[in-house]
């Protein structure tokens, strides 16, 4: 009975609070960035900044060949992680139902068995990412506690979701409750860590692409 109450709390008030922190936190972070502004570029443009900005937002999703040949594992693993997260979050039918309740829009999902397999791959890719972070001398040197924190808060919802679906270790209700709570932790932490990159990367790519576009440089 107590567990049910916890689940109801987690799905209701707790989720609303976490979502509000996520939304307002992210808006605050975007405001922190945009309010700084930037000076108008007075040099004569050779090409279009807008076209360059838009192009780079897309083109930077593909690695330069020179980089790929040096670091294939890190790059492929990065794709697995990000595509995996996208599939798990947005193409799992129970998640789509949640989005429909929240936003009133719905879309096609993937068979749950497929999402289950993708979840396993995504979890693996997170562990590979951790190993690279620990064993690569550059990554070990530049990594901060925040980097390990975002690794952990990204891992928890994946693992708890996977275990709930597959009825592993704990009872389904408890595992589902833990899954929801871990998502809420992720939502609360995200705006105050480098997880902000989920939105700010668009700005970063735009700004660099804009500069390059004005100069007529391929970026």
């Amino acid at each position: 009975m107590e567990l049910n109450e916890l689940l109801i709390w987690a799905r209701g008030p707790a989720f609303n609070i976490a979502l509000a922190i996520f939304v307002f936190g992210m808006l605050l972070r975007l405001f922190e960035i945009l309010s700084l502004g930037r000076k108008e570029d007075l040099s004569a443009a050779r090409g279009s900044g807008v076209a360059g900005g838009l192009r780079t937002i897309l083109s930077r999703s593909l690695p330069r060949q020179t980089l790929f040949s040096r670091e294939p594992l890190r790059i492929i693993n990065g794709y697995l992680l990000h595509i995996g997260l996208f599939v798990v979050i947005f193409l799992y039918r129970p998640h789509i139902e949640l989005f429909e309740r929240l936003f009133g829009v719905s879309w096609m999902g993937l068979p749950t068995g497929v999402v289950d397999a993708v979840t396993a791959v995504t979890i693996l890719s997170l562990f590979v990412a951790l190993l690279i972070r620990i064993y690569n001398p550059v990554l070990r040197f530049i990594s901060t506690p925040g980097d390990y924190l975002i690794w952990l808060v990204t891992l928890l919802p994946l693992v708890s979701g996977y275990m709930a679906y597959n009825h592993l270790l704990l009872g389904y209700t408890l595992m589902l409750t833990l899954h929801i709570l871990s998502v809420e932790l992720l939502l609360i932490v995200a705006p105050f860590t480098k997880l902000t990159h989920m939105f700010s990367f668009v700005l970063a790519r735009w700004y660099q692409g804009y500069l390059a576009g004005r100069r007529g440089v391929e970026s």
Partner: protein, 428 residues
């Protein structure tokens, strides 16, 4: 430069932070891929040389000054300091370990312009009194004497006199209303006089009016390299004043990478207004003259040769196709290096590294990247379009016992120029 202090340094860094910088720091998840694009990392294997680490002091200032969380952290004493120790520790990373080549910026998956931030953070380091001696004195000479290498007008005049006596070509000085005003880099005056001769011959053949200004012949802008915008502005203003007083249509930036960046892209922003003239790199001008049919070439270099893209011309300047069109016109055995064009590896001496004696050792280590690119090709000649690249390459080749002549593209084009009265039978 007024009295430097750490406080001033931090304030200058703060003043450089804008929305793009904030978006970059917000987006970096420490993937470390920028290191793989940086020749100062790949050739040393030192994790400290990771590009994003070079702007760590700026990240700290950004976090503490411009984020709510960072302010809270500082309040409870968790903020990381940006003090004398930090400036001392990062000085060599910011200046000696970066040629502002911009390769890191092009590989960053989230799109961070890291080299742009290193350019910005240098403003703080020089304000804090943590800039390398070689760059400080070069900048002082540029402001006081008019050229970073201390070249004065009499030296330019002497070169002009020699050139006129040897070739009969004329080099107009301070000619009002000329179409082009030609800038030179110190190195071209001191080490590569071929450049001026090439210009004189090409302009004569194209029938274009051109001039050199006696008050603004120098293009090199070490204010940009050291990161002192006030001084960079003084150096740019000198060129702008001369060009506008002479009423020229176009200012031609010489075969020098940072000179081009300084006068073409940074200049209007430094002086706070657009120019009343155009700025073009000499390669753009040669390409235009060729396409318009005003100059023609004859004969072909048969030696196996390759082209080294200067970072500021290609990756940061967008001039990639023009040199290739020109080269293919005068060379029958031109082959590309691995990763040509925007992704080319730096010569290792850009961004003030070559003017900074303290960086000599790491520069030669970083040169190994260029060496291995050249070893793959086994070329007989190396062509480039930047006097600083050229000197750095010559030094690097010599230090490695490699006997490959380095040639400027402009003079190579001039050597094959069809000149009135001297036209040989067409090779085609």
């Amino acid at each position: 430069m007024s009295k430097p202090s750490i406080e001033k340094g931090v304030n200058f860094i703060k003043g450089q932070i804008d929305a793009p910088v904030a978006s970059f720091f917000s987006s970096c998840i420490h993937c470390g891929l920028c290191a793989e694009a940086c020749l100062f990392y790949t050739e040393t294997g030192d994790p400290k040389q990771t590009p994003i680490n070079k702007v760590e002091p700026m990240r700290r200032v950004w976090e503490q000054e411009f984020t709510v969380l960072g302010k809270l952290k500082s309040m409870v004493g968790l903020g990381k300091p940006v003090d004398e120790k930090v400036f001392s520790e990062w000085e060599t990373l910011v200046y000696d370990g970066c040629s502002l080549c911009g390769r890191c910026s092009l590989v960053c998956p989230v799109g961070n312009d890291i080299s742009g931030m290193i350019r910005k953070i240098r403003e703080g380091f020089s304000a804090a009194g943590h800039a390398p001696e070689g760059l400080i004195s070069a900048t002082q000479r540029a402001v006081e004497i008019g050229s970073p290498m201390g070249v004065k007008l009499p030296a330019v005049k002497a070169q002009i006199r020699h050139l006129q006596a040897d070739t009969g070509l004329s080099v107009p000085l301070d000619q009002q209303g000329a179409e082009y005003m030609v800038l030179l880099s110190s190195m071209e005056i001191m080490n590569f006089p071929e450049y001026l001769e090439a210009i004189a011959r090409i302009m004569k053949q194209a029938g274009k009016s051109w001039t050199i200004s006696s008050t603004a012949f120098e293009a090199t802008n070490s204010g940009i390299q050291i990161g002192v915008s006030d001084l960079a502005k003084v150096i740019v203003e000198r060129v702008v004043d001369a060009a506008e007083a002479l009423g020229v249509k176009t200012v031609i930036s010489p075969e020098c990478g940072h000179a081009y960046t300084a006068i073409r892209w940074d200049g209007p922003n430094l002086i706070g207004r657009p120019y009343k003239f155009e700025v073009k790199h000499i390669l753009e001008v040669l390409d235009e003259l060729t396409v318009a049919g005003l100059i023609q070439t004859e004969g072909m270099e048969t030696a196996k040769l390759t082209y080294h893209d200067p970072c500021q011309i290609a990756r940061k300047g967008g001039i990639v196709e023009a040199p290739r069109r020109l080269l293919n016109q005068v060379a029958s055995n031109f082959i590309e290096m691995s990763e040509p064009g925007v992704m080319n590896w730096c010569c290792s001496g850009g961004g003030g590294v070559s003017a900074n004696e303290r960086a000599d050792e790491i520069k030669l280590t970083a040169f190994r990247r260029k060496k291995s690119q050249l070893d793959e090709l086994k070329v007989e000649t190396l062509v480039t379009a930047c006097a600083n690249c050229r000197l750095t390459l010559e030094e690097g080749l010599e230090a490695n016992g490699m006997d490959i002549p380095v040639v400027g593209l402009t003079e190579m084009v001039a050597e094959h120029l069809v000149e009135d009265g001297t036209q040989k039978e067409s090779a085609s």
